[in-house]
Amino acid sequence: MKRLFLGMAVMALLFTSCNDDQESINIDQSKVDMSDFYVYTDADIDEATRIAEGKSKACYAMVNLNRQLNEDPTLEKKMYDIEFHTRSFIASKKPDGAGNGGGNGGGDDGSGGDDVQPIDDGLGIISIPVYVHVVYSNANENISNTQINSQIAVLNADFRLTNNDANQLPSEFDTDITDSEIDFTLAGVFRHADSRTSWGTNNAVKSAYPPVTPSTHLNIWVCNIGGGILGYAQFPGGNSSTDGVVVGSEYFGSTGYVSAPYDEGRTATHEVGHYLNLRHIWGDGRCNRDDFVVDTPKSDAPNYGCPSYPTVNCRTNDMTMNYMDYVYDQCMYMFSDGQRNRMRAIFAPGGARESMLN
């Protein structure tokens, strides 16, 4: 643990010194604790330790200095800035003394009972227009408009808390379930016949069929991915030419060519959660890794299938029914207030998806 704290302290120090020139957001910056932020997971701590030992020198230090990145090297800086903005914005809308939106804001006592209020961010109902690109190599994959519309309906239900399966929520999470006040409208469907039968997760489908106005529209590609992958997303801050989410044809929508137990449209809900800056609910790491949301209990691994309640990990009951876990479609049915605030913050002035509101 000592090493971990040291690592975090060093990271905090580095970030502070690196971001002196950051344009100031309307809040006392010293209140924004970024010490737990990460892009990469567990190995980061080791890297931070190396930096602490003087074996690596750099100012901008999103702790992967010696790593061969095959991704955009500026991405981590962007993600850091987005995280900083998110926390600053959420904190600025809270009464004084409340913690920031991050995992250190009082969420470390392990009780899992931390409540977050939906903040009044002044953004109203956020409407996201959606383009769907259907890329098919056979008739099944050329999914019907009915199937596409069923997915849009599921997104609207899930993000507006009108989904009819939310009534099974354990009372422990009564104060956490939320209406994120984000809705979706279908703006257009593009259909592409292509002989390629599986597209993988390296954005090949986006290169073949580029996104349409990704700064103002959510682009969703529907195709066969392969490799057991149901869908994949891109966090805000990534390259605009690959911005959007990809969902396997059989896991898109709730009717038509769909395959149980991923046949209720929740794969898209989960991926759009990532697209709107949500992390996996277990923080992609051990108990000490957070998803940067205070009202989601800590956990150290995904839950699968249809877990019974309570499922205890890291000494708290997991929120297994959260869309950002890995359970079956029929067993996930909520976002939390903290997740709502976090998603909406990227639409605030200076946020990564601010341009979508215009």
Partner: protein, 264 residues
Amino acid sequence: MKYIIILLTVFLLKSCGNTKDIENTKEDNALMKIEQLSGTYLITMFGRVKLRSKKLTLELDESTNKVSVFGGCNSFFGTFNANGNHITFNELVSTRKMCSEENMEAEQYMMDALAQTTRYSLEKNILNLKNETSSLMSAKKVQEKIMITYETSTRGFYEIIWISKDSISFSNDRNLKERKTSDCPEKEWNELLALLQNINIKSLSELEAPTKKHQYDGAAMATLKVESEGEIYSTNIFDHGYPPKEIEELVNIVLSMKKMSTKE
């Protein structure tokens, strides 16, 4: 109760004769590279005489070059130098307990044999200690149980592969109820062992994953575990298909072995 520790100075015997050991072939060399010298051996033969006792042991540690021998009553400790198929034992120190005459004789033989040893072979876990002309002692490696486990998981997919010397098994069932097992091919197993030698398995948990695609569902999460001498060493989570470079070859062999096993 008191052991008197005495130092036995060992004179290395330089052979005058120039007889070539006919067993010293290239094949021998290749096998030695694959089979790890470190380990615990049960001494089975003195020269050409089979031993009835099953408690005489020899322990070699290549990382420290230390040897320890249990002769049934007393123990010896010292160092060794192995190079190619040459080996010498030096600075042997013995505990000195009074033991049965039979035992003392055996210990004296072992001490002498180690002092005279200049060569060795290690093939199929049988260690042969030799001088230039003949075999002095044979020993069989006590097989430590090594198990390699590769597990990969994402929301829509699960697979676990177990590989040991005897078998390769896998399951796509998270509850591990259904599993398929087949024989472990020897050639690939030896390749795995050779690769494991080049990896410090105790530092598996420190390897850095080159990518984190699983954070946005772009890859399944994977871990590699190695169980050795009752300890389990595990990597952190990395992306399936993008292992840390230190274990990339190992992971590729594991995956191809699993593929092979499904074809049979």
